[in-house]
Symmetry: C2
DNA sequence: CGATCATATGCCTATATCGGCATGCGTCAA
DNA sequence: TTGACGCATGCCGATATAGGCATATGATCG
């Protein structure tokens, strides 16, 4: 078997970096496909395909605007992801007592993005 | 090209439901492979493979304990995911429920970034 | 109507899985 | 040492995916 269809799972939909980029861009407001494609340096068909996946999992919505089709963000689907990861928050905040000292050291040096 | 390697991206690693299940189970503490496999109803090789992916993206750590190999959670890698989705929080709190043209027009106030 | 712009799709290739099964390898016990 | 146990891997098959290119579909305008 291959991987589960990205089409039915938000986790899968956002597993693709370019789709995350699209979502991030859409925070600024609705945009037509060509606009997104150009801004992200991808071909139009490529952008359309990513947008289709995002639409199918409900992360974006589209509406016609003359010749164009404006895509807008609908971030509600990201909430479950945020909550799921949030369920691990105490594990990255607390001390890792169950793990060995090596990890403790890593935590000291730790400074992510 | 195929999908990006799950091995290099936490987003991809957690795109697989069974891997999320494994992570969830590990919140209770370290566990040997067979234990996890049995609890999640998957074969041992399957569990090992998922654990390998999780290990390669740094979400779990392992240590030998006699014949067994205990896997433990290292949730720090989930933090970026939590933060990324958190960047959309205000969007799912806003009233996107009735996303008709009227609302769209209102939102265009801040459309340009 | 015909031309043109904006998107969506279909077809095709290469690749990266996920899963199963059998097996290799290290560890511990007798 | 031999055997049993625990786990990792290799190999194979089926499938989904990302992208590219060409093209179908839609809408607007002259």
């Amino acid at each position: 078997m291959a991987r589960a269809a990205t089409t039915s799972d938000v986790f899968n939909a956002i597993a693709e970096p370019q789709r995350r980029d699209i979502l991030a861009l859409l925070r600024a407001g609705e945009r037509p496909v060509t606009d997104l494609a150009q801004e992200l340096g991808m071909s139009q068909p490529r952008a359309s395909k990513h947008l289709r996946v995002l639409r199918e999992v409900g992360l974006v919505r589209d509406r016609k605007a003359g010749k164009q089709r404006l895509y807008g963000l609908d971030a509600r689907g990201l909430r479950p992801v945020h909550e799921w990861t949030g369920g691990f928050e105490r594990f990255w905040n607390e001390s890792f007592d169950r793990l060995d000292t090596y990890v403790q050291d890593l935590k000291q040096t730790w400074q992510e993005d």
